[in-house]
Symmetry: C2
Subunit: 173 residues, 2 copies
């Protein structure tokens, strides 16, 4: 499928409610266990998604579309959630993510972006040129990546309970 | 986390609405593309989940709890959905899955299963003994496995659109 904004927003606007449905009020055993040392639990992942809404997706979109001479993105802090989520419940994080995402989609749509604008470029600090359509496509895939990760992290909390099935369930490998 | 029925049902009862939220009325480009030859698209996966509700999870539960001398499970047909889904829309499949799942959870809860019953066994045709708790745990992990798979299959429809990001998004590998 070629990139198109309508199809992209179909995914972006569903993600908060999908996560609310999967996670709101669920027993904490599902959301506090991770996949082992240096891995994230569900709570960490939702915090990471919030940090992206605040600092990455629309900020980089604005930079790409700006008149700035230097369009190099600021580095994204992959560990910001460990500080920023402190003291918040998972339900609070889910609501915060939904609110931020709605605001960002509204901001994105308000730009009435043209196909030409979709080819404008920013500069990623590691790998260089990124077009706006590549950036927005990445936002979509990033959502789906983390929905899959959340499913996997939750599945692994039951790994020891499935007996011989462990070898047949790809998600547990 | 040790197996427990309450936590298991938390997942099982959320899956249909999660899939409805992710997929209902979405553009068909997201649900008709697969990951390459011999792989399933989203429509195939939802059909597979339906076949499990009809023939696997509760049928095997009933067999495990029965007085049968032979408790060997019937083989599960992993390709049944290619025939059974014919002529149905994805929205119809999603509603059918929700209806079947609700009925199965009701049937499961009506049994008021004891810890002792959770240790009763059936026989898998390939790997032998399976306790009821292992069977029900597998049902839960199987749901999460397919939510992750659906996310991955959808993400791959955008693989060619993310530019250099392709190397950074694990779900696209």
């Amino acid at each position: 499928m070629n990139f198109n904004l309508t199809n992209s927003i179909e995914i972006l606007q569903r993600t908060p409610d999908t996560l609310i449905l999967m996670l709101k009020d669920i027993s904490p055993e599902w959301t506090t266990g991770n996949e082992g040392a240096e891995t994230w639990n569900v709570y960490d992942i939702v915090g990471h998604l919030i940090h992206g809404e605040k600092t990455d997706w629309m900020a980089r979109t604005e930079l790409i579309l700006s008149d700035n001479v230097n369009k190099t993105f600021e580095s994204f802090d992959r560990f910001a959630q460990f500080e920023e989520s402190k003291g918040k419940t998972l339900n609070q994080l889910l609501n915060e993510f939904k609110m931020l995402r709605e605001k960002n989609i509204e901001q994105l749509l308000s730009k009435k972006l043209t196909d030409k604008q979709m080819e404008e470029k920013g500069v990623h600090p590691v790998f260089g040129d990124v077009t706006l359509s590549q950036h927005l496509s990445t936002w979509v895939v990033h959502d789906l990546n983390h929905i899959a990760q959340i499913s996997r992290v939750m599945a692994k909390q039951y790994k020891l309970n499935v007996g011989h099935w462990v070898d047949y369930l790809k998600i547990l490998q």
